[in-house]
Each structure stands twice: as C-alpha cells, then as structure tokens.
C-alpha cells in the first residue's frame, strides 16, 4: 500500500551505503529510521577518510615536509568545501568534535569573558554577564542547547529564560515581548527540533533579538543535513551543527560565526596551534578559526565531512528537502490513521522536518521500539535528549522515526505496519 512516489532514486542511493545492505535480528533487512540520531555513511566518505590516512596523514599546520603540507592542504580544502556548503567563507568555520562542543564553545565564551572581566582582564563586554542579564532559549531545546546555558547561569548569576510551547508543538510567541528585552544578552534557539520536528522561524526570531541588542546562536543540527542553508541569510551571529548527522564521520562538528563575533570571543580549549606567542609568563592567541582549534585536530574527519558535503551537493539540498517533505507527509498520514497513535509535534507537514515522534496508547515506547526492532526497523525511543519536551506533553518518552535520503515510502509502510504489529502483540495490555 505505497501511496507516494519517492522524489529521489532511493534504490540507487542505498547502494552507496554499505551498512544499509545488512540484515538485523533473525535475518531481517534493515529499515534505518534513526538518522536524527546519526546518519549512515556513503562509501565515498569512507574512502576519503581512508585515502587521507593511506596517503597524506601528518600533523597539520606544523611540519615543513611534504606530507605535512599535503595534510594541511587537505584539512584547509575541507574547511573551504564545508564553508561553501552553507554559503560561508573558510575563516568563518571552526572545527569541533560535535555540535555539543560547538555550543559549549559559545557558552564558555560567556563564562570565560565574565571570569576575565571579574579579574580585571580585557574582555569584550558583549560576552560579560552579570546578575540581571538574561539568556533566552526555548522549551524545545536539545540538552546540548539547554544544559550549557544552565551552567553559564549558575556560574555568572545570569538568568535563563525560555520561550514556551503551544499544544501543537510550536513555539508560543505570545509573550515574546516580555521574554526578549534589553536584558536579553543571547538568544540561543534550535532551528529544527530533533524530537518534535518543528522548524522554527529563526530568521524573524534572530531579527527581534538583534533589535534588542542580543547575540544569537542557532542550533542547526537538524537543518544543515536536511535543507539548503545559507548561514548569512539566516542572520544569526553563530550557528552550530554536527558532521555525523549529515553523512560525515563521527568526531567532527562545526561552529560557524560572523568573523567579527568570533574575533571577540576568548579561547575555549587552549594549547598548541592556537597561539600567537607563548612565554612562561603569558600567551597571546591566533585569530579565529585557529584560536578555537587547539591541538592536533580531527583531520581525517574534516576530509570525510567535506566528501559528505560533496555527496549531498551532488544530489542537491533542495531535492533532499523535497524528498523528506514527501516522506514526512506520508508518514504523518499513515501514523495518524492508526487508532491510538498520537503524534507529538506538528501534525501538519508544514514548517516541520522529518523527525516524527509519537506515542501508542497503552504501550510504552520501549516496547513499541522493541517490536519494530524485531522486524528490522531501527527507531529511537526515549526522551531524545529533550526531556523537558516530554514533560511538557506529559509523556515519559516517545518513539521517533526520522528519515533521510536513503529512506523510501516502503520504509514508512514498514513502520506503520510495525506499529500495528506492536498493538497486536501487546493487545491484552491495560
């Protein structure tokens, strides 16, 4: 009962992903619906990493020998490719180990600047916080864009506030004017929720924040992999995302920033390769992005991520978004048609991405996930690192299916059939 036709040629894309050919449990073909957690990797990305190790591996920005030159060239070429992918320039791209580090880098710019200012050392006033200052986030943030700000608030005395949610899974902007004021020093907001799927109006939020003089950070973990992104058009000061969710290797993330804003931020992790001058008595620091890339970096991973960008660019990000939109619309329709299934998040396929969370009446998400797993369908169950969202909607956890370029309408069918099977299996439960 496959109702829709896929926008992308999924069968041919799938062949690029070795893992997707495997079976799970008792020989079931794998239906991977957990790309919001992490994506699978095309062979091109694996080859790029391996080729780096087999032919050009050396410490970057350090040696005068040919290998060191080649490694540096590969690393910086990767930076340029990744910059191009989001319409940025290479010096605006800082490599981190994951989006969580990217966001913490910004959080520590605040707490470190505050510490430096307290000690009478120079610090850019935009990053110095005092009691009375406010940081504004939303109630749908991933823990990665929540816990660091709680910590900053604890350390600096600033207050953490948040934009609440409506019953249908969107930001409730009714009281925005009382939440976003001249006291607001930073607005940190997720572009697309990893649990609700909601696509937030970041451009207008960022404009409002700018109007009151706040800095802005966008968590783009769930948008850069799934739609065309122009970081300058988005309008924020800083944008964070991960490589592993966009076909890239584990162990690499990105922080994009307006050069002038990055330049105003003090070092986060300090050590080799981020300095200008070092004596025992004190040090000065290199300009961004080097200032934020201490130590031997994740070179092979940067090269792999650049290959992932090339792969996605070849498909075309607009096509990727279109494909996922079609799948999501179909999935919402199929799931809503099952009695007892409740979508947690926007039920309309408008301004929403491909992460679809739901509950099944009378069956705990863990048990739903187990039945799906038994059928070869990999979904995620739990609070998806967005526990406050579960509390907001009064559920202990959800089951979440999420789609990417290698998913087809047949995968959605398998999901819907699996949910019905779970209902049959646990039929007798309360």
């Amino acid at each position: 009962m496959s109702a829709a036709v896929d926008v992308l040629d999924v069968a041919s894309i799938k062949r690029d992903f070795p893992l997707l050919a495997r079976t799970v449990r008792a020989g079931r073909p794998l239906v991977y619906l957990d790309s919001a957690a992490t994506s699978q990797k095309p062979v091109e990305v694996l080859n790029a990493e391996r080729n780096f190790y087999e032919s050009h591996n050396a410490a970057v920005h350090r040696g005068a020998h040919q290998l060191a030159e080649e490694a540096t060239e590969a690393y910086e070429a990767a930076r340029a490719t990744i910059a191009g992918f989001v319409h940025a320039m290479p010096p605006e791209i800082v490599f981190t180990k994951n989006a969580t580090e990217s966001i913490n880098l910004v959080a520590y710019a605040f707490s470190n600047s505050t510490d430096l200012a307290r000690g009478g050392h120079p610090a850019d006033p935009r990053f110095v916080l005092s009691p009375g200052d406010e940081i504004l986030i939303t109630e749908m943030e991933h823990h990665a864009n929540l816990v660091p700000w709680q910590q900053v608030a604890l350390k600096t005395g600033a207050t953490l506030r948040w934009i609440p949610l409506t019953d249908d899974g969107r930001l409730d902007l009714t009281d925005l004017e009382t939440l976003l004021t001249e006291r607001t020093r930073l607005l940190a907001v997720v572009h697309q929720s990893n649990i609700l799927g909601t696509l937030n109006p970041v451009e207008s939020l960022v404009r409002s924040a700018r109007a009151v003089g706040a800095l802005t950070l966008v968590d783009a973990c769930q948008s850069v992999p799934h739609m065309p992104i122009d970081v300058w058009a988005m309008g924020a000061d800083l944008v964070a995302w991960s490589g592993h969710k966009m076909l890239g290797p584990t162990g690499i993330g990105v922080l994009w920033g307006i050069p002038e804003v990055l330049a105003a931020m003090p070092p986060f992790i300090s050590g080799g390769s981020m300095i200008a001058n070092v004596t025992m008595a004190g040090s000065t620091f290199a300009a961004p992005p080097q200032r934020f890339e201490a130590g031997v970096p994740m070179t092979a991973q940067a090269v792999g991520l650049a290959a992932a960008c090339d792969y996605l660019d070849r498909i075309g990000m607009a096509k990727v978004a279109e494909h996922e939109h079609a799948l999501t619309s179909y999935a919402l329709m199929r799931l809503e048609a099952i009695e007892g299934v409740e979508i947690v998040g926007p039920v309309e396929p408008v301004d929403r991405g491909s992460a679809v969370s739901f509950t099944v009446a009378g069956i705990h998400p863990h048990d739903v996930g187990q039945v799906l797993d038994d059928r070869g369908i990999a979904v995620r169950v739990g609070h998806h690192c967005a526990w406050p969202v579960c509390r907001r909607y009064g559920v202990p956890a959800t089951t979440r299916a999420s789609f990417y370029i290698y998913n087809s309408t047949e995968d959605v069918d398998a999901l819907a059939e699996g949910v019905v099977a779970a209902q049959e299996f646990f039929g007798g439960a309360r």
Binding site: H364, Q370, G382, H383, W387, P396, A429
Partner: protein
Amino acid sequence: MNLEQMYQEIILDHYRNPEGKGLTEPFDVEVHHVNPTCGDEVNLRVNLDWSDAPGDDPKVWMSYDGSGCSISQASESVLSSQLNGVSVSSGMAAVEEMVALLQAGAEPHEPDEELLGDAVAFSGVAKYPARVKCALLGWMAWKDAVAQALAAHAAAVEEKRTND
C-alpha cells in the same frame, strides 16, 4: 522468534496484572530511581523487621510504585512477589543472581531457580543490552534502599550505645 523469547508469557502477565503495586506504610527508607535514557521511574520503600531476625539478618518488607515499559513494570512486580518478607541475606543473593542472569553476555548464565522464582523468565532480556537496565531498575532500587536502611539502623544502634 526473538520477541517471544524476551517477552515470555509470564512477563506479559506480570505487566498486565502487576502484583503489590502501590506504596504502603510504615517504612524505614524510600528511594527514587530513574533510568536516564528512557525516563522509567520507580519509588520503592523498605521496612526492616528485626523481630525474630537471626542476629544481623532482618526480614525486609517492601512496597513500590513506578512507571515505565513492560519489562521494568513486570520486573518490579516479580520483585515484589519474590522478595517480600525474605531475609536481607537471601534478598541480596537474589539481586546478585538477577544481575548475573541479565549481564550474562555471550555465555548464558544457568539461573538459580530457587533464588529467582518467576524472575528466571527475564533471561531473554540479557540478549538486549538496552533493556537490561529496565529489568534491573526495581532490583537496584531495592538493594539501595536496604543498604540505606541497614546503615540507618547501624547508626541508630551506635548512637544508642554511646548515649547509654
């Protein structure tokens, strides 16, 4: 089929009709345990009964309330039916045995049915590492609560002795 190996009929029965659910009084200690990856929660109370305890091995009475998946709920029900009124020493032995059963890894663990009773039905869960924590949630809470109650008792005895 794998699914039935894990969800033995006995587990589904306990899940559908949990035994002894609901907190009761009196109690010495109450603990609250959470599984942070999935949000399963349990509140568990223990009451030590020293009345005809041979030396330092009192009887333990327990009550609980919780929410979560079928495995955690069934496991708490089994715990309650299995470990109510047993001595600390045999209860602790049962917890150890349950841990051994669930963390068996590649080589299956031959369970001590005497100690575990219905809990042997959870052997299939050992094959699903992500669910092991669900099956152990209540049991770990029991162990924690009993340890706290014993410590509190020892402290009270000690205080009484110094005051005397």
